[in-house]
């Protein structure tokens, strides 16, 4: 099988990040991959956000679902995971799956075929997506990891969450760079939003208060071809 080969070339030992004893790759395209579990996690796809806006009169381009799925297809083709966890807010609203164009539905189903696919319930999509395979769960525990949409206020080692759409900002030579990021302190990881139309919220915002040990917080900022690990002391609010 050639997928193991492609995985081997993708993952370098030095790129692995520890989360509660498990090893994961923070991929620059915004997904988290656990090689030992052959598990790929992706968060906040917000599919059909475009049509959700259109319903309310803002006719923004209807290409977001296609764009998001194409990118997802690419990472799935690279890692060939056995398990895929979509960490909630997979659809922008409850009617999203129903509105989805048939060509997109087919593309999504092709990706799902032969894999264990979990839809974690999010605040935008608390119910199972209409007419799609996969299992809808409130949260999911695998090994020492706990996958759920919203991070809990209490500290939970091994929690992988989404919901907050983290981004980080640095200022270097008088110029400001803001990027989506993974935010992790070794115990908990909050994933960046993957959807094409998803905005983001700085990890230093009040909404993150109490979620991380600041001394060990690292923002894994998404670059054009790699991840940049930036320690919390370098980060700027706003």
């Amino acid at each position: 099988m050639n997928f193991s080969l492609s995985r081997a070339t993708l993952i370098a030992e030095a790129d692995l990040v520890g989360i509660a004893g498990e090893r994961a790759v923070c991929d620059w395209r915004g997904v988290l991959y656990f090689p030992d579990l052959r598990l790929l996690a992706v968060s906040d796809l917000h599919l059909e956000k475009g049509s959700s806006f259109a319903r309310r009169g803002a006719l923004i381009p209807p290409y977001d679902t296609g764009a998001t799925l194409l990118r997802l297809q690419a990472v799935i083709a690279d890692y060939q995971p056995q398990i895929v966890v979509s960490l909630g807010d997979s659809f922008h609203d409850g009617g999203g799956a129903e509105r989805m164009h048939v060509s997109f539905r087919e593309r999504l189903e092709a990706m799902m075929a032969g894999r264990d696919w979990f839809w974690v319930a999010g605040n935008h999509d608390p119910e199972a997506p209409a007419d799609l395979p996969g299992e809808t769960v409130k949260e999911l525990a695998i090994g020492s990891l706990l996958f759920r949409h919203e991070p809990s206020k209490l500290r939970v080692e091994g929690e992988i969450a989404g919901h907050l759409h983290p981004c980080a900002r640095i200022v270097q030579r008088g110029r400001s760079v803001r990027r989506r990021c993974f935010a992790g302190d070794g115990g908990r990881m909050i994933m960046p939003a993957f959807g094409a139309y998803t905005g983001s919220l700085n990890v230093l915002d009040r909404a993150y208060a109490g979620l991380f040990r600041l001394e060990t917080l690292v923002a894994y900022m998404l670059g054009a071809e790699r991840i940049f690990a930036i320690s919390s002391s370098m980060l700027r609010p706003g």
Binding site: G57, V171, M221, F228, G238
Partner: protein
């Protein structure tokens, strides 16, 4: 106090009196006589043309009684109109007056009311602006005034009302003030479409345009009337300029600096001038200059003269206080930017000081017109060049003013985002027929050349977004009825439209919130000092000190949409830079400056130190002939430099710099960066560019070939932040992104984020979408100044003069001094991330 509108007759009094008796109703003649005045010739001429049914453009300098002239046709007609009998229906608006500024409308209400009252005319005059309370607006719809003074945005709103046709049924005249400044922007496009709509309601409608001197009056004359037949023009009346202004360039005792914009060197001399005059208006080109200058002036202010500051970022309350003090003649000097630019006059100004180069001759004329609204007395002004190139520019501007030459930006074709907004507005007013609306739109001068196919795409865009993927049929904003008319699909569409009307899209800005020192981000509830552009605030670190509203402020942090500050102090003070307000050198002035450089006889008019500088350049290098492009190359340190002198303005030079670096990269010259000023452009590289040119790899002519505006431009544009910024504006105007929701103002940041994401998605999936087309057109004309660059490249073809030197030339010094001050805008954001990541590695001892 002399009236702003009326002057003692100084020209052809007999003719004027004869005409007056014919044209003016008796109460007017009596009133003029009682005042000891006579109507001016151009006022009567305009009246005669208007009475003959013509639309008219009146071009006159400030203080010529333009406004009264503009209203005379209305007032005389209203005077003759029989009074409304009790029980008779209320009459509609008779005259609509439209000005670019709210404040101007208010000003006119005050000034027009006086003669109306004195003549005893039964005429009602009211304003309608964004500040007008809703109960008054509703009343105005039921009982309209005879004369309504308003802005282009309010007109758009009135047109989108479902009773628009009835409301405007009695309309006779539209008076357009400051027309020269209205027509050059998207507001002008919206207004032109609004006028076309009004003409559809009332075919006999006449327009009266009031304008300062312009280079191409015919463009404005066409703008005023339906382009049906194409090329039709309004009548023209031109009033020759009044007394020549007394303008001088400061011949400083101090040394004029090579570069920079602060003009600090001249502070003590300016302060002396302020002391010698009653009230001085100091104009600067940017808000940052205003801040800096204001602070320096107070440092010199030993007598504690009342000197105030006025610019667009300041809190409205503070601006109003300054304006009032100005009107009360309580100030000795006021430092201002373009917010004070248009025809409003306050107080008794007897000196205008212009700091920095005027950038455009029209702007200079307008600002100097501020000193003194009496046409027969000369205005007095002093120009303060901030650096040596600006000395040349000031001299050129001065000559231009004496020549009476004027330049305004050329009129551009009507923007498609504005048309989209208008189409939706028309639909909000009632169902429309596409064929008729197309004809109507084409009757507006900016859209005279619009093609049917483009128009249909705009309609498609308004209806369902105009995407190739037809996904939004069920969400259409407008739908075609069985009868073939387009109609709004839901009342909420009209409601949404009303909230988003207009073409002015602000840069994302943060409120500046003041807290007590030492409270840090925890402090709450202090006053808001004004607004600051978000991208500037983002480069600050907590503890940084910056200058705002004449105060030194300490940056504490950003909280939601607020920039929190406390009292600051210290030596390293940063001056905010503002993306807006930086005007490029006008084409006309650039031409003048090149001419002056080439002609050593004209150097005698320059200060000795500047003439010396040019003589030295002639000796050490060469001065280009008029129309030639000089390119110098020289080594310095371990770098190789190329300096070109196109004099085409900073925007065009920045674009040129981007494109040249791309080309040099391909030629393996290993360019490292570039910096652009209004006058010249420096590129530096690791390799010897002069050797490359000599070996023709490429030749200099090939490097500067016009074909760079093809693929290179396209490739660079697509990644440019400028395009994203432009797209955001277009998307808001076209109604794709909302300016605000009912009851909830969206913060700039949220809009920015989504606009950028939408841009990325749209660009990769439908690059030919009509909104992207509109964006590229805008960017080429605006931030990139591509057309000007194109004209320059074609002009210098075969006329590029290369001079290789052993060392830097005198002319190159100003731009070389800018290196390091301005950051080079490249696409290399990941490089910055890498640096930050490496710093961490280093600190952790892993590097």
């Amino acid at each position: 106090m002399p009236s702003r509108y009326l002057l003692r007759v100084t020209e052809q009094p007999r003719l004027a009196e004869q005409n007056a008796a014919v044209l003016l109703p008796e109460p007017f003649v009596k009133w003029f006589a009682a005042k000891g005045w006579s109507p001016r010739v151009h006022q009567l001429e305009l009246l005669a043309k208007a009475q003959a049914g013509q639309s008219v453009l009146l071009i006159a300098p400030t203080g010529a009684g333009k406004t009264l002239a503009g209203f005379l046709p209305s007032l005389t007609e209203l005077a003759k109109r029989p009074r409304r009998k009790p029980g008779e229906a209320h009459r509609g608006i008779h005259t609509l007056y439209i000005s670019p500024l709210k404040a101007l409308a208010v000003d006119i209400e005050r000034n027009l009311g006086k003669p109306v009252e004195e003549i005893g005319l039964p005429v009602t005059i009211e304003t309608r602006t964004g500040d007008t309370p809703s109960h008054k607006r509703q009343r105005q719809k039921l009982v309209p005034p005879d004369i309504l003074l308003t802005t282009p945005e309010q007109l758009a709103l009135l047109i989108a009302g479902n009773d628009a046709k009835r409301f405007f049924a009695d309309l006779r005249y539209v008076v357009l003030d400051e027309l020269h400044s209205l027509v050059t922007s998207k507001r002008g496009h919206l207004l032109a479409l609004g006028l076309a709509r009004l003409r559809a309601f009332v075919p006999k409608l006449q327009t009266i345009g009031l304008s300062a001197t312009v280079a191409e009056p015919d463009e404005l004359r066409r703008w005023l009337v339906a382009q049906n037949p194409p090329g039709d023009m309004a009548g023209l009346i031109t009033v020759a300029g009044g007394a020549k202004p007394e303008i001088s360039i400061l011949d400083s005792r101090e040394r004029v600096p090579w570069s920079g914009h602060s003009a600090r060197y001249a502070i003590s001399e300016i302060y002396e001038a302020i002391k010698e005059h009653r009230t001085t208006l100091l104009f600067v080109n940017t808000r940052s200059q205003a801040e800096l200058f204001f602070q320096e002036l107070w440092r010199a202010n030993e007598d504690s003269l009342p000197i105030a500051l006025h610019h667009g970022s300041l809190d409205v309350g503070q601006r109003r206080r300054v304006e009032k003090a100005m009107a009360d003649n309580a100030l000795r000097a006021i430092v201002a930017t373009s917010t004070l630019d248009l025809g409003i006059d306050w107080g008794d100004v007897d000196l205008v000081v212009h700091v920095g180069a005027p950038k455009g001759a029209s702007r200079l004329a307008q600002r100097i017109g501020r000193a003194n609204h009496r046409m027969d007395e000369p205005s007095k002004a002093i120009l303060i060049p901030a650096n040596r190139f600006e000395v040349l520019e000031c001299r050129a501007a001065l000559d231009a003013n004496y020549l009476g030459a004027q330049d305004t930006p050329p009129l551009v074709k009507g923007a498609l985002d504005v048309l989209s907004q208008h189409v939706l507005g028309v639909a909000c007013g009632g169902p429309f027929d596409a064929d008729l609306l197309f004809e109507e739109v084409r009757s507006a001068a900016p859209y005279a050349a619009l093609e049917r196919e483009t128009f249909d795409r705009v309609i498609d865009f308004v209806a369902t977004g105009g995407y190739a993927l037809k996904n939004y049929e069920r969400y259409a904003r407008i739908r075609r009825t069985k009868e073939g008319l387009w109609r709004v699909s839901h009342p909420s569409v009209a409601q949404q439209y009303r909230l988003n009307v207009g073409t002015i899209v602000e840069m994302p800005e943060l409120n500046i919130r003041y807290v007590r020192q030492g409270r840090g981000m925890a402090g709450r509830g202090g006053p808001v000092l004004g607004k600051i552009e978000e991208y500037f605030a983002e480069t600050l670190r907590p503890g940084d000190n910056f200058l705002f509203a004449g105060k030194v402020l300490r940056f504490e942090g950003i909280r939601e949409n607020e920039c929190v500050v406390s009292n600051g102090a210290g030596a390293n003070i940063i001056v905010p830079s503002y993306a807006g307000g930086k005007f490029p050198l006008s084409t006309y002035l650039a031409e003048q400056v090149r001419g002056m450089l080439a002609d050593s006889d004209r150097w005698r008019a320059l200060p000795e130190q500047v003439a010396d500088w040019l003589r030295l350049q002639k000796e050490k290098s060469v001065l280009p002939k008029r129309g030639d492009l000089l390119v110098e190359t020289f080594p310095r340190g371990n770098r190789h430099y190329m300096v070109a002198y196109p004099f085409e303005g900073r925007l065009a030079h920045q674009t040129l710099g981007m494109l040249l670096t791309r080309r040099l990269e391909r030629a393996h010259a290993r360019p490292l960066g570039f910096v652009a000023t209004d006058y010249s452009l420096a590129v530096w590289a690791l390799d010897d560019m002069a050797a490359l040119f000599k070996a023709k790899k490429p030749s200099l002519a090939a490097l500067f070939d016009e074909d760079m505006l093809g693929d290179d431009l396209e490739a660079w544009l697509n990644d440019s932040w400028m395009l994203k910024r432009t797209f955001r504006t277009c998307a808001v105007i076209a109604g794709l992104i909302e300016k605000r929701y009912p009851g909830q103002e969206k913060s700039g940041r949220q809009v920015t984020v989504s606009a950028d994401l939408i841009y990325d998605v749209l660009r990769s999936h439908e690059p030919d979408h009509i909104l992207l087309q509109a964006t590229r057109t805008d960017a080429s004309a605006g931030l990139l100044d591509v057309s000007r660059l194109g004209e320059m490249l074609s002009r210098v073809r075969g006329r590029i003069m290369h001079k290789h030197l052993d060392q830097i030339s005198p002319l190159a010094v100003p731009v070389m001094l800018e290196i390091g001050k301005e950051s080079v805008n490249g696409g290399a954001n990941d490089t910055l991330l890498m640096e930050a990541a490496d710093l961490v590695e280093e600190a952790m001892g892993r590097g």
